[in-house]
Structure formats: structure tokens, C-alpha cells
């Protein structure tokens, strides 16, 4: 059974703020789901290649050249930004000088 501490760790990794009630609920729910998927342990997978991708395609690169964005698309992208200063996306400081914790 997942503990509240473990849920807090997951929430931190997932960058999600949860209420105390939510932490309890998720601990219970996730434990149930993990128990269900745990049945995969019944199978012997020694020497089996993992499948990351079902089509078997490999490679697929293109030349790394800059393609200018047209003005209209650029405008659309910028107008979607929640907080900006002109054409710059505004974000809170990454380094604050204080201890970095949630």
C-alpha cells in the first residue's frame, strides 16, 4: 500500500499540487491499480526484447535546417502565451537564491 510520503514524492515528480484528502485517495487508488498490473510478474520474460515501437521503423531523420515561421502562425503562438512581455514569454525566476522546494 502506497504511503502518503510516496504519493507526495510522485506528486513532486509530476509537478502536481494535491490536497491532503487527495493524497489519501490517490494512495488507495494507485495501490489498487499497481496490484492489478503486478500480475505481469507471473510471466517469464527472460531474454525477451522490449517493444518500444510496433511498426519496426528505424531511422527517419531529416536535415537540420531552420524553417522560418510565417508571421500569422507566430502571432497565433504568441497570443496563446499566458504571461508575456512583448514577444518574450515571461516566467518566474528559475534560481531564486532560496532553498528550492515546493
Amino acid at each position: 500500500m502506497l504511503t502518503t510520503k510516496e504519493i507526495e514524492h510522485l506528486a513532486n515528480l509530476a509537478r502536481l499540487e494535491l490536497s491532503e484528502a487527495e493524497k489519501e485517495r490517490y494512495a488507495k487508488e494507485l495501490s489498487g491499480i499497481l496490484e492489478f498490473v503486478g500480475q505481469l510478474q507471473e510471466l517469464d520474460t527472460t531474454g525477451v526484447e522490449p517493444t518500444a515501437h510496433v511498426t519496426g521503423l528505424i531511422g527517419g531523420s531529416r536535415t537540420d535546417i531552420v524553417q522560418e515561421c510565417d508571421a500569422l502562425t507566430r502571432q497565433r503562438l504568441l497570443s496563446a502565451v499566458p504571461k508575456r512581455a512583448g514577444d518574450l514569454v515571461e516566467v518566474p525566476a528559475v534560481f531564486t537564491g532560496r532553498e528550492f522546494r515546493i
Binding site: R15, L18, L30, L34, K83, P92, I102
Partner: protein, 502 residues
């Protein structure tokens, strides 16, 4: 057919009607918009409707018809689009609060193709938030009702698109299928639905859920309509490196030379007897057609759901990391939803979280995501973060990837013996609202028959069984070898012809 209103027609019949000038494109579009106006307040299939754009598009088609110009099969045909697919300058919410007010910056590749074919987009349909769910109850905006019974769900996650087609609000619709999200609502609403082979249709412009499972597909009133739609949207796309040039030469299949496998594990305990009966009648119809029926075994079937619920949340946790309140979408940095006309009807839309002071960067992430993502979305993100985390990666993620390989081998083996598989879509009839919302695992079990096709990447076609007005819809699915959609269409059409005779 003369007594049918244009919105009740199929693609083929509507196309005939337009070219024979029985009605104009404007009349066709208006009959759909009128159906939406009359029914959608109750039904809730649409999140946004583009009446003006649709009418302007209709005008262009009518001008072409006026000039006696040839029009393609999809030209002038009104369609609906699941709200996880981007259409330029129009809302794309993924049925989530985190994208309330967001408008697509570009058209998805499938949309570009459909516009090129002349299809007319009526609006965006409701779905489970970020396509996570099997009932459309997880939408942050509203529920969609099953057109056959308003107390029951339309299925999910593409419930809106399925309901819109079933209720003739549109002629056909786009959906997406990651674990059954086209087929299960198709079955629940009594329409045809296709999940193409992974790689057959471009995912560029589809809001990503699980990148190795997602496929865009379509709903239609007949197999032929779904076939037409599929031909219009498939193809290799330089913007999606996972696409494959999949056009196989047209083959005329002789039914008596085909073999359909019935996977015995799909008829075990837990399947509603009414579902089993309906699906067995479908099998009988194929026998009557001279197709060879064989019972086969897919012994690893029971593990497919576990594989899906490890790998899919893992991919979800990566794909949804982009919703961080920085570049687009809702954000605690700016709680005002700045947008032109968002024609959405929010349920009780929670206000922005109160902040004691200006948010730190971490606050922007955790509070935006914590507040604007729904419960199921947060659940799956955390599950995925767990299964990918150090110490658990091997036991969960890598293990699931290995079992995925074993499942692929299982299907490959079976496809050496038979051409296609026939199975139920859902173990139950369409269920009632709130019936499966208490325990998330209950809802996950709804996917038990659909996930295998996504796990191994094969095409699957949902076909409705004949039902009367007092019964609830039941469908069956045909699963085929990679890129053999044409075979599935042949089998589906043969079944439709057979049941129209009885």
C-alpha cells in the same frame, strides 16, 4: 430515402443528393445544424459549433455545383471532430480546463487532408479529458448522453463523436483510439468505428495521450462511409515519423477462402449473456456467407490490460508534461482566460486557486497542473511517474514492454492461421452514468477486449449488430493484420449486406 432529411443520410447518399441536386450543400449543412440545435442541449455531443464557417464552406461547394463542376465524395459532407484534434483558430480543449480558451495554432494533418477533400467541419465534440476514460464522464465540461437511452453513457473516450453520428447531428466524425476509444463508443451508440493500424494515419495535430498507442480514426453510419473516410485521412506524413506508407493494392476477397478466428478467451466469464448472444449471431452470419470460422486461442489475452495500464500512463506522464502554465493553456500566472469567442458551456467552472503571493516557478507548475487537470488525468500521470521511476522501471515499464513483445508474437502466430479475428467490443451493454466512477479500476476493465489491438498495433473495425428500438446497441469488432483495413471493410460490408437481407 426521399422522406429522409439530408442529415440522416450516409456519405454516399448525401453525395448523390448533392450531385443530383435534390438538395443544396447549404440545405445539407443547415439540416445538421438544425439537428444540433434541437438535440444537443440535451445530448451534449458538441463542445463548440462553427455554424458561420460551415455555412460559408457550404456556399463554396454550392458554387461549384452551380458551375456543374465535379465534386469528390467527401466534398460538402458535414463532419464533427473530437476536441483532441487541432483545427486552426478554433477551440481545442481536450475536454480539459487546462485548455479552456485555447485555440489551435494549426490544422492537424488529417484536418488538412479533409479540408482538401472538401469536408465541412461542423464543430468539436466532447470526450473524456485528454481521451482518458470509457464513458465521456471525465470531460471537464459536460456529459454526453447515449442517443439510445439518455440515462446511459455513450462510451468513451470519443463519446461525443459517436453520439453525434448516431443522432444524425453530422454525417461522419473523427475520433481517436488509444485503448478502445473509438470502438467502444461505436459499439455503445450503434455506429461503425475504425481504429486504423498504428502508423496508417498521421498523429500530427492530435493532442498526444500515449504515443505508441494513439491512432486517429473515424465513425460512420456504414462500413463504406468509414472506408471512404479512412482513404481520405491515411498516409505517410513527414510531420509524423511513425507513419508508414500503407496503401496495399486493392484485393477482391473471396469470402469462402477467408478464415475468421474466434478468440476463446474473449468469450469467457464476465461477458454479459446478451452481448455473447449478439456476437455469436454475427459469427453465424459469416458462417452463412461461407467464411470459415475457427476457434483460436490467445493465451496471453488476460495480460493485455495490465500491459496497457503500465505503458499508457508512462507515456501520458511524458506527453502531459508540456501543460505547465508557461506557453499556452490555463495558468496561475494569468487566471483570466483571454480568448475571443469561446462557445463552450462550462459545468461549474472552478475559479482560479487563490495565491498568497506571486507564484514561484514551481508554484506555476504544481498549482496550474494540480488545479486545472481533472482527477483521472492526475491519477494516470502519477501512475506513469511511478512506473518510470528509478527502482520501479524494470519491474513495471520494462516488464510491460517485454510482455508487449510476447503479445505481438501471440497475434502473429494466430494470423498465420486466420485472416481476421471476431470478438465482442465490450463485456457489457452501455452502462448507466456513475455506475463505474467509484473505483477507477472498474472503468479500466471496460477496455479488456479493446486494448489488445492498440498494444500490438493492428487495425480493428467496430460493426453494430441489428437491434430494435427497445434494445440497447451491441457491436462486434473485427481485428486484422497490420495494414489490412481493406479486408476488414470487405468483411464488414458483407455482414451489412447479409443482415439487410434478413
Amino acid at each position: 430515402m426521399l422522406t429522409m432529411s439530408p442529415n440522416e443520410l450516409t456519405i454516399i447518399a448525401a453525395h448523390d443528393g448533392l450531385t443530383a441536386k435534390r438538395f443544396s450543400c447549404r440545405e445539407l449543412v443547415d439540416s445538421c445544424l438544425s439537428a444540433i440545435e434541437k438535440k444537443d442541449g440535451e445530448l451534449g455531443a458538441f463542445l463548440s459549433v462553427f455554424a458561420d464557417h460551415a455555412r460559408a464552406d457550404a456556399l463554396r461547394v454550392d458554387e461549384k455545383l452551380e458551375e456543374r463542376e465535379h465534386i469528390g465524395l467527401l466534398e460538402g459532407i458535414p463532419i464533427a471532430v473530437k476536441d483532441v484534434i487541432l483545427t486552426q483558430d478554433q477551440p481545442a480543449t481536450a475536454a480539459s480546463k487546462i485548455l479552456h480558451g485555447y485555440e489551435g495554432a494549426y490544422d492537424a494533418t488529417v484536418i488538412t487532408k479533409l479540408r482538401h477533400a472538401g469536408a465541412i467541419i461542423l464543430g468539436k465534440t466532447n470526450c473524456d479529458e485528454f481521451a482518458m476514460g470509457a464513458s465521456t464522464e471525465n470531460s471537464a465540461y459536460k456529459i454526453t448522453k447515449n442517443p439510445w437511452d439518455p440515462e446511459r453513457v455513450p462510451g468513451g473516450s470519443s463519446g461525443g463523436s459517436a453520439a453525434a453520428v448516431a443522432s444524425h447531428e453530422c454525417i461522419a466524425a473523427l475520433g481517436s483510439d488509444t485503448g478502445g476509444s473509438i470502438r467502444q463508443p461505436a459499439g455503445f451508440c450503434g455506429v461503425v468505428g475504425l481504429k486504423p493500424t498504428y502508423g496508417a494515419v498521421s498523429r500530427s495535430g492530435l493532442i498526444a495521450m500515449a504515443s505508441s498507442f494513439d491512432q486517429i480514426g473515424s465513425f460512420g453510419k456504414t462500413v463504406e462511409d468509414v472506408e471512404i473516410f479512412f482513404h481520405a485521412i491515411r498516409g505517410k506524413d513527414p510531420k509524423d515519423a511513425t507513419t508508414v506508407d500503407s496503401q496495399l493494392p486493392i484485393t477482391h476477397y473471396q469470402l469462402s477462402k477467408l478464415r475468421i478466428g474466434i478468440p476463446k478467451e474473449y468469450f469467457a466469464q464476465g461477458v454479459d449473456p446478451e452481448v455473447a448472444t449478439a456476437v455469436r449471431s454475427a459469427i453465424k452470419k459469416y458462417e452463412d456467407l461461407g467464411v470459415k470460422i475457427e476457434e483460436i486461442s490467445l493465451p496471453l489475452s488476460k495480460y493485455a490490460l495490465a500491459v496497457y495500464y503500465v505503458l499508457m500512463p508512462s507515456e501520458v506522464s511524458a506527453n502531459l508534461a508540456r501543460f505547465d502554465g508557461i506557453r499556452y493553456g490555463a495558468s496561475v500566472s494569468n487566471p483570466e482566460v483571454r480568448n475571443s469567442e469561446a462557445k463552450l458551456l462550462p459545468r461549474s467552472f472552478a475559479s482560479a486557486p487563490s495565491l498568497a503571493s506571486a507564484p514561484s516557478l514551481m508554484d506555476v507548475y504544481t498549482k496550474t497542473r494540480g488545479h486545472y487537470f481533472g482527477a483521472e488525468v492526475r491519477r494516470r500521470i502519477m501512475l506513469g511517474v511511478y512506473t518510470l521511476s528509478s527502482g520501479y522501471y524494470d519491474a513495471y515499464y520494462k516488464k510491460a514492454q517485454q510482455v508487449r513483445t510476447l503479445l505481438r508474437h501471440d497475434f502473429a502466430r494466430v494470423f498465420k492461421q486466420v485472416n481476421a479475428l471476431l470478438a465482442p467490443i465490450s463485456p457489457t451493454l452501455p452502462f448507466r452514468f456513475a455506475e463505474k466512477t467509484e473505483d477507477p479500476l472498474q472503468m479500466y476493465l471496460a477496455d479488456v477486449f479493446t486494448v489488445s489491438a492498440n498494444v500490438v498495433g493492428i487495425p480493428a473495425l467496430a460493426v453494430p449488430c441489428p437491434r430494435n428500438d427497445r434494445e440497447l446497441p451491441i457491436g462486434f469488432q473485427l481485428m486484422g493484420r497490420p495494414f489490412e483495413e481493406e479486408l476488414l471493410f470487405s468483411l464488414g460490408k458483407a455482414y451489412e449486406r447479409q443482415i439487410s437481407l434478413s
